[in-house]
Amino acid sequence: MNGLSLLQILNGLTFAALLFIVASGFTLIFGLLRIVNLAHGALYLAGGYVGYSAATTTGSFLIGTMAAMGAVALIGLVIERGLLRFVGDNEMRQVLLTLGVTFLLNDMLLVLYGGDTFTVPVPELLRGALNWSGFFYPKYRLFVLGLGIAVFILLWLLLNRTRLGALIRAGVDDAETIAALGVNIRRIFLFTFLLGAALAGLGGVIGGAFLTLYPSADAEILVFSLAVVIIGGRGSLLGAAVGAIAVGMLNTIGQVMFPELAYFVIFGPMALLLAFRPLGLFGRSV
């Protein structure tokens, strides 16, 4: 219809920030544990619902967020310790198992919350729009953008400035060697899985406040996250950030310029990239 305005660029970036929060957890698990966790979207939705319940009961967005991250990490614990442990190292069995978890978890959420659309209530401070001489922009979306950047910095510090992070990074490259060095790799795996799940839960609350929560929201966010990780490359934090911006902007461009082909605009380039650079932009082969 017309070109990209500042508004649209901001929209693309705020959506990208949410995608980064969700996809960073996905890519950490994929990178270190080699597990494509297709239940990640369901974890996002579970986090959103828990956050909604906690935030409306206590009236605190912060408590809602903490509750969501905690609850989803707990679900992650059950998946990792209770299910994935039993399928060994077989990648395909792991992927398909998480697919089963997705179906089950989604249906349980439908039973618990019904099909109504919920919105996580945001604090008074973040409601409404900022107004720069007639240019309106929702405060909450700017908060999401800031949070996305903050999560990126925190994860970067964790991975690059701590011993745990060094172990995780080394594990992404070569898990066997780390294990041979006497490090308890299982515990690092578990920690990463819980961290990744908690990030999905965080995403659920953050996203649930402006994209709303409803059955099948999980599939949508999962497909976007997959695109982010595929473009960015497995296990790469920078890749997830670049991928999120690419998908966020492509999504906006698609909606504004090629409304007919909105879906194609994201997945066409992704399929091409994957065909010619199977490991993504920043992925490394093992």
């Binding site: 990648e91 089963g100 497909v223 997959l226 879906y263 399929a271 994957l274 065909a275 010619f276 199977p278």
Partner: protein, 330 residues
Amino acid sequence: MTASLSSDSAAAAGDLSTSRVGKAATVSVLLGALVLAALPMVLPNYQVSVLTEVLIFAVLAMSIDMLAGYAGRTSLCHGAIFGTATYMTIWLAQDGSSIAVAMIAGVLMATMLAAVFGMLAIRTSGVYFLLLTLALGMVVWGICLRWTSVTGGENGLRGPGRPEFLNDHVSFYYVVFVCVALITLAMWRIVRSPFGLTMRGIRDSESRMQALGYNVPLHMFAAFTISGFFAGMAGALYAVFNNFVSPSAVALVLSVEGLLMTIVGGVGTLFGGFIGAAAIIALENVVSLYTERWQSVLGAVFIIIMIFAPDGVLGRLKDGFGKWTSRSSR
């Protein structure tokens, strides 16, 4: 780290060419065919149409198995290929083309799509192949949903109805039965051919086959296209069966259900597709009599199978049977 699903049992399945197991397999296949031919005489009308559906989905499951079991590639876009044939068939039929012409065009369209996807996908393997095919399937779904002027968008397309002589459930069943029997025979010949053996070689070790001078990408491409051709056949039959198509015919869920049927039946067993399709469709029909929670049941079945019986029902049976025969011959 194994990239394919339970390649051990698949290899075992490949080795049962001789002796007692081979004979037992032949007997059970013939017996199965006989049962399938006789069932409509005793079943009520509605069950006959469910059985028709089982046959059609068995073809889809077998086409997925051709890749998963014999080429070591797990696809999540076969539902989209299947549905493309369905769309093409209905789209032509509603404009007055004869049903046979429409079905042939549908299969051709699916094969062409599979060829394009094959070209993109052959460079990847393992989990990346799964992700790429998932993405390609999503593209097809997105197009079917949005290209309203051709696909009818969300509402889908309505077909003109079956030809007069196929309106009766039982006669339609027998037509499908004959088609599926021929398709199954063709697939079986392909997986047993030198080409099929080469594919299994590639599945077990790409680098070795490369070193032996085989053109691995070309073989992969051919396998993908052939498998898509069969998925298209199932899709064209489904078009006549359902007389209706909507984006859910190309949705990810269909690919997932097809894959689940393959797995339940046993990856690398080909005929397991029938068992898988029958098990899943029967389960769905029974479960929905008692509860709306079909999704939960489907998820639980997936989890249980992945944990306890990743080789599927037929794989399990064969394992047990193999052990039994080797013990008794000792």
